[in-house]
């Protein structure tokens, strides 16, 4: 009342409109912070190898990154509520291992249960949900530190995964099980389409669903969310479960892509580092409450492009990881410079 009446109403409204337009422009710049980096990468890739800028190569990149991408969606949700889950790596390996083990005959290191592949996929989802539920209960109800709980869980899951198949690799998986990771729909890999649907669906959910908004509220200020009547514990546990289920789907995609589940899928590649790197490069804050799916997706695409360019270039195999890590750090710095204070925390 007091502040407004000092200026005329029209004047104030003009100022407010101008400000909110500027605010919108700034937030657009932040969301698109990685676009220049992606363009530079595409230019570099084209120069390095003419095979880079082809439809088949891009479809290949799409297939490679979709498993990572779906897992990044899971981790991003968990980061948004102010948590962190290292054990997504273990879920990514264990869930498809259990499912494959139930389908494969004893001679090929399976259980001999000969489970129907569709039921096996259901089992895979249930395994993911169960791991998420255990994590969520320990962290939320047991009030344990999420870092330590999920670190311990990672080791347990990797051990169980090794133990079930005694370190062996499961081959000859049914086609229905492999389809998600292996099949193509026209020119496009099915996994890429599914990953894109998951990204878009999660993005819409976060923006237009009350539970999605509650995730931001809980991550931004847990006590304020509680005081506003949001069921904070339920949201947090729900997000841990969702994150783990998404990691299990990611693992299914990877298993389909390579038509096998190794006894070390997930933790051998150290996929959790790529997951965190993609989310953080994409502007999802490690402190919770900040980030979105546009950013997370561009983080995933960036990692995929870098990996692909390194594969196509003449960088020695022994040096590929060093260059990979260096590029990640550089991208992080660049995202920070373009996106300002808010990004890459």
């Amino acid at each position: 009342m007091t502040d407004i009446s000092e200026r005329s109403r029209a004047e104030v409204e003009a100022i407010l409109q101008g400000r909110s337009r500027r605010a919108a422009a700034i937030s657009l710049v932040r969301e698109a912070a990685l676009v220049p980096v992606l363009i530079v990468l595409i230019v570099v890739g084209t120069v390095v190898n003419p095979a880079f800028l082809t439809a088949s190569n891009f479809s290949g990149i799409g297939q490679q990154v979709s498993a990572l991408g779906v897992t990044v969606v899971g981790e991003s949700l968990i980061l948004l509520i102010g948590g962190m889950d290292l054990s997504l790596e273990g879920t990514y390996g264990l869930a498809p291992t259990v499912a494959a083990w139930l389908m494969v005959p004893v001679l090929e290191y399976g259980s001999g249960a000969n489970l129907n592949p569709y039921l096996a996929i259901v089992v895979l989802l249930v395994v993911g949900a169960a791991i998420g539920l255990i994590n969520g209960l320990l962290i939320v109800k047991g009030r344990l530190n999420g870092f330590i709980v999920t670190l311990g869980m990672t080791i347990v899951l990797a051990g169980v995964q090794q133990g079930i198949v005694k370190g062996n690799t499961l081959f000859n998986l049914p086609a229905a099980f492999n389809d998600l990771g292996a099949k193509e729909f026209g020119q496009l890999p099915v996994s890429l389409i599914v990953a894109a649907i998951i990204f878009v669906g999660t993005g819409l959910f976060l923006r237009y669903h009350r539970a999605g908004r509650a995730i931001y509220a809980v991550g931004g200020n847990r006590e304020a969310a509680r005081a506003a009547g949001i069921k904070v514990d339920r949201i947090r546990i729900g997000v841990y479960i969702t994150g783990s289920v998404l990691a299990a789907i990611g693992g299914l995609m990877e298993a389909g892509r390579v038509s096998a589940v190794t006894g070390t899928q997930g933790y051998q590649e150290g996929i959790i580092f790529a997951v965190f790197a993609a989310a953080v490069i994409g502007g999802v804050s490690l402190r919770g409450g900040r980030g979105n799916m546009v950013g997370a997706a561009s983080g995933v695409i960036l990692l995929g492009l870098v990996q692909n360019i390194l594969d196509l270039s003449n960088v020695s195999n022994y040096w590929i990881e060093a260059v990979d890590g260096g590029v990640i750090l550089f991208a992080l710095l660049l995202a920070r410079i373009i996106g300002g204070e808010a990004t890459a925390e």
Binding site: T2, A23, R207, Y208, H209, A214, Y216, N221, R226, G229
Partner: protein, 541 residues
């Protein structure tokens, strides 16, 4: 410069301890400071007052070397200020005790006193010398603190002592106190004033920032009023009246706001006597609850629709606990809490919300809003289930539409309803919290210290709005506060002592002295004005 000259003359020509001239500072599109000249004389205490968002905090930050000024100079003892990054240099010249404690709870008192400047050669810590020097400072100034205990165990008052001791240890001759009494009990405030006088007597310059005019009038020799980034009034306290100070703070709006006493709102606004207990909107029976903020022991209380009931008491008397229990934000052990006759489960904020309890939490930074989210989203957080359509999906526009009328009634000033609440001024943040609590048209509003940290003018607006909401909607109000002037909007006041109902006061205006005596547990609580008892030498202007 004339102001500075006048002050300088009064201090017998001494070099000013701090001299800021022509300070400008802009944040984004907000001009926070427009040419501020401020002078602190050694041995004098200057009170700086102003409404929320007037520029007090910005000025403090610039004087403590946290932000650079866009234009203007700061000089200490006549010499130019050190470069911005030289933190140690700044600390030797000026020390700031912030609203929020800056001690490290895990470290001992001695370590905190010497934080960042441990005595000892080549970066090694000489523990014995450190403890000895810290003990010496405490002894010199008569601070009763054991330097070996960890700060986690200290009270707010004791932490402040640690921060003051830190300033003294660095040899600082200039101290900024940023709302030091906000979290102190009354007796602790008296002791703090004693310490401030001790400091000024020994020649330290003090800048004292407060929302409470009485405090400024009690311990400051000079006063400065800041409004919209400009110093609009600088004078000796003995030449000032309270009315003149308030009108300087408020500016052109004097005519409508100067009376500022919330009493003026409650005068004509009393509805009829509370209705029969049968349709009480809140019924508490034999409530018991334990809490680190003070226990509640066997309290019964009823609030009728439209009735405003104040609850007050000392810091750990259970006032906050009682309010939090009713809001569902804290659990209870036994007894019943019922809204419209339906009992509330213990510690379920979500169920209390659905039952019709709006909640204005004590610490708005911690519980009042989500800083990263917008005004509309925060204000409508309690009614998402109303806004959502099938399966929980909703349009963001529905939020703004629901928020717009609330923002208008509460006159929330923001750059659009999408602006993150963290970017708003303190008073507007509190209004967003109020909007959130009334959006669901509650049957009962629980407000804990709603005016804490809010300036004089916004305070009366806020209280008037709370009163108006209960008038309009017939909601009850449970107002838990230690700010006695807030109670003027209440129909009756219940005083808790050590968790038990001690006294009840029937109708406004409430006798301030009697209320204070009751909170100290000094009078018989039969509703009548208790016998005047001389409790302690607190100064109430």
């Amino acid at each position: 410069m004339t102001e500075a000259a006048r002050s300088a003359a009064s201090a017998a020509g001494a070099t000013p301890a701090v001299e800021a001239t022509g300070i400008f500072k802009q944040f984004g599109s907000t001009q926070a400071l427009r040419g501020v000249d401020l002078t602190l004389q050694p041995g004098r205490c200057l009170g700086l007052v102003g409404r929320n968002g007037a520029g007090k905090s910005t000025l403090v930050s610039i004087l403590s070397g946290i932000y650079p000024a866009d234009a203007g100079t700061v000089r200490f003892d006549g010499r130019p200020a050190p470069p911005l990054g030289a933190v140690g240099e700044w600390r030797r010249r000026i020390a700031t005790v912030f609203q929020h404690s800056m001690v490290v709870p895990e470290l001992t008192v001695a370590e905190n006193v010497f934080l960042g400047s441990h005595p000892g050669p080549r970066g090694l810590v000489d523990w014995r010398a450190m403890r000895e020097q810290a003990r010496q400072i405490m002894a010199d100034w008569g601070f009763p603190l054991d330097v070996n205990q960890p700060c986690a165990r200290l009270s707010v008052e004791q932490r402040q002592i640690v921060e003051i001791a830190r300033a003294l240890a660095a040899g600082t001759r200039c101290l900024l106190l940023d709302e030091p009494t906000a979290a102190l009990e009354r007796a602790a405030v008296t002791r703090l004033f004693e310490r401030v006088r001790q400091l000024t007597d020994s020649g330290v310059a003090v800048l004292y920032i407060s929302h409470h005019l009485e405090e400024v009038f009690e311990i400051c020799q000079d006063a400065a009023v800041i409004r919209d980034g400009e110093l609009v009034l600088t004078a000796k306290v003995k030449d000032l009246s309270k009315e003149r100070t308030v009108s300087a703070m408020v500016g052109a709006q004097t005519a409508t706001l100067a009376p500022a006493g919330p009493a003026s709102h409650s005068a004509g606004a009393l509805p009829g006597e509370p209705s029969a207990p049968a349709d009480a909107c809140l019924q508490i029976e034999h409530l018991r609850a334990a809490s680190p903020q003070g226990p509640v022991r066997d309290v019964s209380l009823e609030i009728a629709p439209g009735e405003r009931v104040g609850v007050t008491g000392l810091l750990s008397a259970g006032v906050t606990t009682l309010a939090r229990v009713v809001a569902g934000a804290a659990p209870y052990e036994s007894g019943t809490v019922a809204i419209d006759g339906r009992p509330l489960p213990s510690g379920r904020r979500d169920r209390a919300l659905k039952a019709g309890v709006g909640y204005i939490p004590e610490d708005r930074q911690a519980e009042g809003f989500v800083a990263l989210l917008g005004v509309a989203e925060n204000g409508t957080m309690t009614i998402v289930d109303w806004l959502a359509r099938r399966l929980g999906w909703f349009r963001p526009r529905a939020r703004s539409a629901a928020m717009a009328p609330l923002a208008r009634t509460l006159s929330i000033v923001s750059a659009g309803l999408g602006q993150p609440v963290g970017e708003l001024s303190g008073g507007n943040q509190q209004k967003v919290t109020v909007a959130r609590s009334i959006a669901r048209r509650p049957r009962l509003i629980v407000a804990i210290a709603p005016t804490r940290g809010v300036d004089v003018a916004s305070k009366s607006l806020l209280l008037a709005e709370l009163a108006a909401v209960t008038e309009r909607s017939g909601a009850g109000l449970l107002l838990a506060t230690d700010e006695l002037s807030d109670l003027d909007i209440c129909h009756r006041v219940v005083v808790l002592v050590r968790g038990e109902r001690f006294a009840e006061f029937g109708a406004p205006p409430f006798d301030r002295e009697a209320l204070i005596a009751a909170t100290e547990g000094l009078a018989s609580g039969d509703g009548g004005p208790p016998a005047p008892t001389d409790t302690d030498e607190r100064g109430t202007a």
